[in-house]
């Protein structure tokens, strides 16, 4: 199952990934990272399709995308 | 190699190549455009890079980029062009990039004129750009010396990782004189250029930069530069004395072409029984302060006369050297006027005669007072 790993201390809480996620499974946390920003977090990894749009749009390379087993190329990147 | 008759501008160009500097960026400006014209043909012969930029400002920044590779790079220009280069020169000093810049000076300020002058002394010696930095400044007075100092400039630039400027008035660029080039430019050992930007292969990335937002880092960098300039003061001061002896009544201080004119004047005065000596600084920074003072304070020297093709710029450094221990006079022509030996002779005769007159008037005074008593 694909999933994302969000680095709390790189995220600056810009929320662009939340808007970008087609599955709408990202939200902003209630606690803050080391820089004092509310960081993004995945709240329903079961519905993550590994499309990487969150990571593509993240201006701080705070999101890593992983998967298990096969992964499909949805677009050339 | 045998002597060859060459124009200053072309000799300077060839000297650079002899010193292994095969990367030249330029912009046309009288009175030194022949350097570019010569190198436009010559650089391809030696597999060098020749590029005419869109402005001296751009050219100086190309120099920064080229110098970062660690190769020997240079440019030549003249007064207004050198003004346009000041920003990049300050950056190269801050980033400790070795480069050589030649200024074949013309009359200023502003568009000024195109004839020889020495009115860029302050700009080159006191730093024309912003920040705590200096340039090592060399001033040749003959075409052969321009060749020798041009080659030396590349060595010193690498030795101190600092821009070096060679300044000559228009004559140095336009005159033709026989010159000799060494078969091989012999140099002392130089440290490895481990600072050069060569691509982060097998090492951490490097940055050629002068920005230090943290004031402590910037201060450290500035004091590091300062230490280099102190080293230059210890090891790189160069000057020449001409007919200086304990018979001299007057001591001249002049550099570049002006010094050669003074030598002619000195020879002429000598034939008239007036002994005058010349102190010629070759490095304008580091300036031979102590050496000038040592000569000026000698008892036989009645007065020091500074002669420049400007309205008195090196004069301030000579005053700093002598600290009021001896009276200093100035004679200068500027705007492109090159003083003739006769002018210098007449100026000195005027100074000597005044003294003689003052001796006579003193004598008269004493005789008058005697009469009164």
């Amino acid at each position: 199952m694909p999933s994302v790993i969000i680095d709390k201390n790189h995220c600056k809480g810009c929320e662009l990934c939340v808007k970008a996620c087609p599955q709408q499974i990202l939200q902003m946390s209630k606690t803050i990272g080391v820089k004092g920003y509310f960081y993004a977090e995945l709240f329903d990894s079961s519905r993550c399709i590994g499309c990487k749009l969150c990571a593509v749009t993240c201006p701080d390379v705070a999101i890593e995308v992983v998967t298990h087993g096969t992964s499909f190329v949805l677009y050339d990147y | 190699m045998a002597k060859v008759l060459m124009k200053g501008n072309e000799a300077i160009a060839e000297a650079a190549i002899k010193a292994g500097a095969k990367n030249y960026f330029c912009y046309p400006i009288t009175p030194q455009t022949e350097v570019a014209e010569y190198l436009a043909k010559r650089m391809p012969e030696v597999g060098g890079v020749f590029l005419q930029g869109e402005s001296e400002l751009a050219v100086a920044n190309m120099l920064f980029g080229a110098a970062a590779t660690g190769k020997r790079v240079f440019t030549t220009s003249s007064s207004p062009g050198i003004s346009l280069m000041q920003e990049a020169i300050s950056y190269m000093a801050g980033a400790e990039l070795p480069t050589v810049i030649v200024n074949i000076m013309r009359g200023g300020p502003g568009l000024g004129g195109i004839l020889p002058a020495q009115s860029d002394y302050f700009q080159s010696v006191k730093g024309g750009g912003h920040g705590d930095y200096r340039l090592l400044v060399l001033a040749p007075s003959t075409i052969q010396e321009a060749v020798d100092l041009m080659m030396l400039s590349f060595h010193l630039a690498d030795k101190y990782r600092n821009p070096v400027m060679m300044i000559g008035d228009g004559m140095i660029g336009q005159m033709m004189e026989p010159v000799e080039f060494p078969d091989k430019f012999e140099e002392d050992e130089l440290p490895e250029k481990d600072w050069a930007i060569t691509g982060a292969k097998g090492r951490k990335p490097k940055v050629a930069k002068s920005l230090f937002l943290d004031p402590h880092a910037l201060e450290d960098n500035s004091w590091k530069l300062h230490a280099k300039y102190e080293e230059m003061k210890k090891h790189e001061i160069r000057f020449e004395k001409y007919k200086m002896s304990d018979k001299n009544e007057i001591m001249l201080v002049a550099y570049g072409t002006m010094a050669r004119i003074c030598q002619t004047a000195i020879d002429h005065l000598e034939s008239e029984g007036i002994s005058v000596g010349l102190f010629r600084p070759i490095t304008l920074f580091p300036f031979p302060l102590q050496q000038i003072q040592d000569e000026a304070v000698k008892k036989n020297i009645k007065k020091v006369l500074v002669i420049e093709m400007s309205t008195a710029q090196m004069m301030e450094d000579v005053e700093r050297a002598i600290l009021g221990k001896k009276q200093i006079d100035f004679y200068g022509r500027t705007g492109g006027i090159v003083p003739s030996p006769e002018e210098v002779v007449n100026k000195i005769k005027g100074m000597v005669a005044k003294k003689a007159k003052s001796k006579k008037t003193a004598a008269k005074k004493t005789s008058k007072s005697k009469k009164k008593a």
Partner: protein, 255 residues
């Protein structure tokens, strides 16, 4: 038998693991990543040299894992020219903002492009001066409010915003010019193709290449990152149309 976990998106090697100083939502970070990804994919990291401008991205060398030069404001194309002429074997790119490239550096970029210097320029157009706190830039739009045109840009006083790739495309020298944007994932994905093409042209020693990247500046536009992407979409795309402006060595090229 547990299925091995595979990483399908991660920080490129050519990018350092440093938290950037850019404001939250500022798309400089995206553009940095695109350039770093392309450098990785083409295996150019160890021979790449970036030239940083003066502006928000003056500290770009802290975020790239490549050698860098730091240029005086507007002069990056001249530094890149000097370096590339001596080291044509290396991959040289300048990374510049609109104030740096169009305002003070107009002469340098025009002549470097016209000489056909074989380096790549990544030109970030966010219609404002970012680092100095939001002043009017040559690309500031009509009526757009900045700290030096507080009543909105008045074209009668300041002239019109400059369309740089169109301006450059008027030069006869063969080159590759494209304008892209990074205000949405789709645009980012397409933008990367242009960045890749630019570096390919350099790598094949073909021509000068420049990619203009429309970018957001939430802080100085006075908007949230999300609002800024919408503002860009509504206001900048019409004035700064995306697409290839000149591709001398492409299929329909003018070569």
């Amino acid at each position: 038998m547990s299925i091995k976990e595979k990483t399908i998106f991660a920080r490129p090697d050519s990018m350092t693991d440093v938290v950037t100083h850019y404001c939250p939502g500022c798309t400089h970070g995206v553009i940095h990543r695109l350039v770093a990804e392309v450098i990785d994919e083409m295996g150019l990291r160890e021979q790449a040299v970036g030239v940083a401008p003066v502006g928000c991205s003056v500290l770009a060398y802290n975020y790239f894992n490549t050698d860098f030069l730091e240029a005086p404001h507007g002069r990056a194309p001249a530094l890149a020219t000097g370096f590339k002429r001596l080291r044509p074997d290396m991959t040289v790119f300048t990374y510049q903002g609109d104030g740096d490239l169009i305002s003070i550096g107009m002469s340098e970029i025009m002549h470097a492009a016209n000489r056909g210097e074989k380096f790549t320029t990544i030109f970030v157009n966010n219609a404002i001066y970012g680092m100095t706190g939001g002043q009017m830039a040559p690309t500031t739009l009509q009526g757009q409010i900045t700290s030096t045109c507080p009543a909105g840009r008045d074209l009668d006083k300041t002239g019109h915003p400059i369309r740089m790739v169109e301006l450059l495309s008027g030069l006869v020298t063969p080159m590759y010019l494209e304008r892209v944007s990074v205000h949405s994932p789709r645009h980012i994905i397409q933008a990367k193709k242009a960045v890749r093409k630019a570096f390919e042209y350099q790598n094949a020693n073909k021509c000068f290449s420049l990619v203009e990247v429309l970018s957001t500046c939430p802080t100085n536009w006075g908007q949230t990152p999300e609002e800024a992407t919408d503002w860009l979409e509504k206001n900048m795309l019409s004035y700064y149309p995306l697409g290839v402006k000149k591709d001398s060595f492409g299929e329909g090229g003018d070569r």
